[in-house]
Symmetry: C2
Subunit: 325 residues, 2 copies
């Protein structure tokens, strides 16, 4: 059995409980809201953020039903951002299924996202921890900022690696970091432990998004649940391409620029793009960056006692980089 | 001078301070977010929710800079819902200016709304009151539910008065009630006072939206800042029409049904609509309902000592019903 499968098997009980509360916590007087949110929440997903909250809390010594209960906070917040993101990207598919905006339209998706955002805060309030709430509300603010920054740089082939990183940290890594940090807070961690887990989460989040951006080019439609090259089609300029554009010839750069303005990306265009990124080492560079972030993430765990809980968080970091979808 | 103008003059100092904090509290690392939010926040607006928070708090004995500071919570939450609402309605104008979605596109408007929602919660957290936060998060949830319910019944000419009321309460009145209730909480009110102000706000909110729905038909483009009949064009079936459809002939009902399916509403269609609602008493019925709600609102103030603060809240109720835009 692959290491991925072993990890998932070890976490299956946790995942089952996460899923149980995801459904249980989702109540609304409006059946349509339940329908859309079940569509987005129960369509799969790795439950990465919920798991990190639970595992971080457990590492600091707290577990139990309430921890699973509160893990919904992060999946709701994440699903809300997916709903709004799909509206923005006009995405047709999400996890191999028709996206909510395709089925119910943009308006309903926007409102269903707003509902999940509010639900997430309602749940978080029940922790009665101002500290936890403040980490969470800062994360929400920064997610919106990250997504706006990404939008501003849509189709910007001159996007710098620095701004790419700022987008990636805000739109993805901050929430993953918040899941770990609030897990520590809920687990009554010391300030040092809380800080270590926040930093672990941030680096893990960076690695996660780098691999996401890599897989968007190198995986298959079957694994991704959406077409290969979706980011490029949506005008999202990510690290494999940013690196390539810095080192390729002016002629190739012009060709890529022409492709980015087309409404439809033809198969031969995609093949050219994959070839040029591959030959200039854009994929390798992105993977190297992800591996570095993952190793940094692991280092922050060194201040914790070596035990099964710590090992699982180490394995999570490996999983994030080695996953196939 | 008209009573409206006298009230606004009396409140001008409060409004100035509200506006001061609206701008001061709005910080973001992303200039575009500031630009959009200034566009929606500083384009005018009655500051009804912020004023009600301040006046309710003052009625219960608390005033000062912090109260003005926290009044931004409600204007941010309200502006967030306007941004998302304009995306949903595909509205071209808001308060006589191009709407944010027209200037910056739907995607940026959705995200700017998300940002304001998160900002609103960040501010509210600083009150360090779980009670206040819980009123606010429940209000956000119900606003999203109300807006979805409205969307479900878009162009539904068989919409019942009961469901119309449910939409109106959730999408509008709950937030206005929350502004009053949290004002009471911030003002360290007794439970009875808090309850009275919550109920005052709810009835005031009902009256406010009823008059909004009335003015959409009976006011002018200049006063409204958008074309007369926008609700009907957007498929929003409101009380003046609901009442008329119940009492008019089958032939007229069919004609209205035909009009509601058209992409463009011609001037003569609008004139016919206004005429038929007028002659069947739909406007009068709506106004009567608003007046009743306003009187109920005032009754909830009777448990407070008669003084200038109470009088201002009474005048606010009159203002809501007598306003021209």
């Amino acid at each position: 059995m692959s290491p991925d499968k072993i990890l998932i098997e070890r976490l299956q009980k946790d995942i089952n409980k996460i899923n149980l509360f995801l459904e249980k916590n989702l109540t609304s007087r409006i059946p349509l809201i339940l329908e859309i949110n079940q569509h987005i929440l129960l369509a799969g997903g790795k439950r990465l953020r919920a798991l990190l909250f639970i595992l971080s809390s457990r590492l600091c010594g707290t577990s139990g039903q309430r921890t699973y209960y509160f893990s919904s906070i992060f999946e709701y917040l994440h699903a809300a951002s997916l709903l709004h993101d799909d509206v923005i990207d006009n995405a047709a598919l999400r996890r191999g299924k028709a996206s909510a905006n395709t089925v119910w339209g943009n308006s309903t998706s926007v409102l269903a996202g707003d509902f999940l955002l509010a639900k997430s805060f309602s749940l978080a309030l029940e922790t009665q921890s101002f500290k936890l709430l403040s980490v969470l509300s800062r994360a929400s603010t920064r997610m919106a900022e990250g997504m706006v920054l990404e939008l501003i740089h849509n189709r910007n082939l001159n996007l710098s690696e620095d701004i790419y990183r700022e987008i990636l940290i805000n739109k993805t890594a901050i929430l993953i970091s918040a899941a770990c940090q609030t897990g520590a807070i809920w687990g009554k961690a010391t300030l040092e432990e809380e800080d270590a887990l926040a930093r672990y989460g941030l680096e893990l989040g960076v690695a996660f998004q780098l691999i996401d951006d890599l897989l968007d080019y190198t995986s298959t439609k079957k694994f991704l649940g959406k077409p290969v090259g979706s980011d490029f089609r949506e005008g999202k300029i990510t690290l494999p391409l940013i690196y390539t554009l810095k080192v390729c010839s002016e002629k190739d750069k012009n060709k890529i620029s022409g492709m980015s303005k087309k409404n439809q990306l033809e198969d031969k265009d995609l093949q050219f793009l994959l070839g040029i990124i591959q030959s200039h080492g854009g994929f390798e560079y992105t993977r190297k960056n992800a591996l570095e972030a993952k190793e940094k993430a692991k280092e922050f765990l060194l201040r914790f006692k070596s035990n099964q809980n710590r090992q699982t968080l180490i394995d999570m970091a490996d999983f994030v980089v080695e996953r196939k979808n």
